[in-house]
Symmetry: C2
Subunit: 244 residues, 2 copies
Amino acid sequence: MPPDPKQHLAIVLIDTRNPLNIGAAARAMSNFGFFELRLVRPYSVAYEEAVSAVGASDLLRNARLFDNVAEAVADCSLIVGATGLGHRVFEHPLYRLERAGRLLRRHLQSARAAVLFGSEKFGLSNQDISHCHWLLHIPTRPEHDSMNLGQAVAVTLYELSRSPAAARRLPEAAERATEAELERISLLLEQVLQLSGYSDYSRETSAHDKTRRLVHRLCLTSRDAAICTGMLRQILWKLTHPAG
Amino acid sequence: MPPDPKQHLAIVLIDTRNPLNIGAAARAMSNFGFFELRLVRPYSVAYEEAVSAVGASDLLRNARLFDNVAEAVADCSLIVGATGLGHRVFEHPLYRLERAGRLLRRHLQSARAAVLFGSEKFGLSNQDISHCHWLLHIPTRPEHDSMNLGQAVAVTLYELSRSPAAARRLPEAAERATEAELERISLLLEQVLQLSGYSDYSRETSAHDKTRRLVHRLCLTSRDAAICTGMLRQILWKLTHPAG
């Protein structure tokens, strides 16, 4: 069995000031199944507060601390910096997250990679960026492209977790009603409407089709089809037993 | 010009308790260009703190307050609930975000939609869900699928903002070196290596090709090609003027 590509990715937070942001990044990592958190020069109070916070996960306690970026990414063969566009001109290739995610996923199949996130206030420094092979950019509005750190980590890890193929076969999706269930409802509805005087099904032949088409358009689940069948049966009973 | 589909979407936060979460959701909306925020029964202290916070955006001040979900989504023709899977069995169709995003984007082309987010502690109630046409689920780990509210909003809006086509033509990407630039570097490198005694280009004919292939594999930008050319020219000068 191949190793989980997600275990090949290190998230590296550089010069983080706010303990809430370290905790938020760790939570997003746990949500999406990434566990390798590395902190470069975190403001020490921030790191201690984050770890001692109620609910701090193993992930946060297992985070590794480094004095500089070079040591934090020494075992990785692809280093990517996450950055806003700001007003800087970058010498590095810069990819939108959609494309960066594809490149990262491919690399993680067989080798280790790191994504670097800079401080809340200044982002990545030019020195941080000098360690990167390329940069990624989350497609925010140019007028407001500075994202919250935890949200930027969450969005990046979501992109790496996307799987349109898996999304097509979500097992929890409610099961659609079968043709037999819909036919039973159509016939019951016909009887109810006929008895109620809504339409004369014995004269208007297209009424059958209209009723069946309506029932099909409802997109009923199997479960809801059973509920509707029960409702119609009860109404039918009352219509045929008015004094009951 | 058609109206911006993003302006057709309302983000509806229900029973939110923490002012930081309201602010975080508003920031994510502003980042991704969605501006219609609706709050149903926010814990009143939370709402006031969020609005009075330094940096509270117009978006937050323009948020509309409602007493119930029905009023908050009265003008929308598609209502979607965001939910974790938890241990609940849903009667509604449930789509992973990748697919839900496609369905939502299609609807927003021509009509209004709302995405509902429940309280931090309990998520959407069964009553909230009864207003929904279907549910969406962010693909988190089953063992830890409870997301931070602001992060869940950010990830959802990122999915709605994804554009693989736009990602392929990011104008800020550094320009690749031309063939002429790479050829110039190959020839200079050959001269330098020949003079340094690294390889005898006059005897080993495949050496030309090896050098050219190496230069191509470097994936140089036009800017970096100019830097490398300058470096090689200087080295070449020093090699031919050893006493200089």
